[in-house]
Symmetry: C2
Subunit: 198 residues, 2 copies
């Protein structure tokens, strides 16, 4: 069995669905997970030559995505509120996910950040919002946020972002399993099956 790497940007709308569906599927398939936060912005700029989300730059794609997300959340029984601003600035949240990736509460923090962004319309760029999410998980928010902004963690997020591009990623969520890339939350089940058989 291979590890399933979950590549995500906390600003990514479809990654919300993946983040909230991931743990139960992986647990029942006994697949090990690895959380790999990265930033979509540099990839979109390098690959598409754009400085905003493709969902904003290409309105037909954006209109579809918002309706599709609403429909998918209803089907999966997930809370949903369209954010008043999209995409949220996600650098600090992504750094915090990097800083906490190996902690027992890490996956719960990732879910809480996505839930804040896409079910509560809270601004995940706001330190106070992230601090409240950390505190709700029993963490020392000031210490965790300070670690998130350390040179070591900043560098880790930069390395993840370069590694994402090197691995062929072009969007999020993406799943990497033994070198195989799966793009999109609706390919999560395929990625799980791949991990079970490779």
């Amino acid at each position: 069995m291979s590890v399933l790497e979950f590549w995500f940007d906390p600003a990514s709308s479809y990654s919300y669905l993946a983040a909230l569906r991931l743990e139960a599927l992986a647990a029942s398939a006994r697949v090990e997970l690895s959380y790999r936060p990265f930033l979509l912005g540099p990839l979109f700029t390098a690959q598409l030559g754009i400085k905003d989300s493709p969902f904003n730059v290409y309105p037909a794609r954006g209109r579809y995505m918002w309706r599709d997300l609403e429909r998918l959340c209803a089907r999966h029984g997930l809370a949903w509120r369209r954010p008043s601003r999209f995409p949220r600035h996600s650098v600090l949240a992504a750094r915090l996910c990097c800083a906490c990736a190996d902690e027992a509460f890490g996956p719960a923090l990732v879910r809480a950040i996505f839930h804040a962004n896409f079910a509560e319309d809270r601004d995940i760029a706001d330190r106070a919002v992230l601090a409240a999410l950390l505190e709700a998980l029993g963490q020392d928010a000031a210490a965790r946020l300070a670690h998130a902004e350390s040179p070591e963690i900043k560098e880790r997020l930069r390395l993840n972002t370069s590694a994402a591009e090197q691995a062929g990623l072009f969007g999020a969520p993406s799943f990497l399993v033994a070198g195989e890339l799966f793009w999109g939350q609706d390919r999560l089940e395929d990625a799980i099956s791949w991990a079970q058989t490779h």
Copy 2:
């Protein structure tokens, strides 16, 4: 129950999978199908400002698509050969699909065109290739191709392409069910379920 409209361009790689999976799924769900050929090129130019397939313009997406198609065809037991040229020029094939959309052999012709393009590496821009496919279905190839190039059918394809953009399409395959848009061959099952319940 609603009709499921299958919107496709004969040059579209993922539409091959949809075209070959469609009939069996719709039949077992008792969902009525409507074939809506259109051209992706004008949509990509209008929406993305590009003159080629996004899979060529954006190499990371193209690399993923080729590997993904191979993997999906293996899973669904479909023949697959990467075309030596992509995308094929699909105007004549799309017109032929328009001309034959209401004929009993129409769906078989659509499947034959996609199979020629993506499982046999034949050039669907070549009249002789299309003629051979028509003849294999017992059709008068010269008459069918002449009809495909009539002003009425040329106009029908133009109208389909405008209607696609009006309906919010931005890629293929797409499925429209009672005004709901589903994009991508992996959303075919969702579109079938929607047709059953709306």
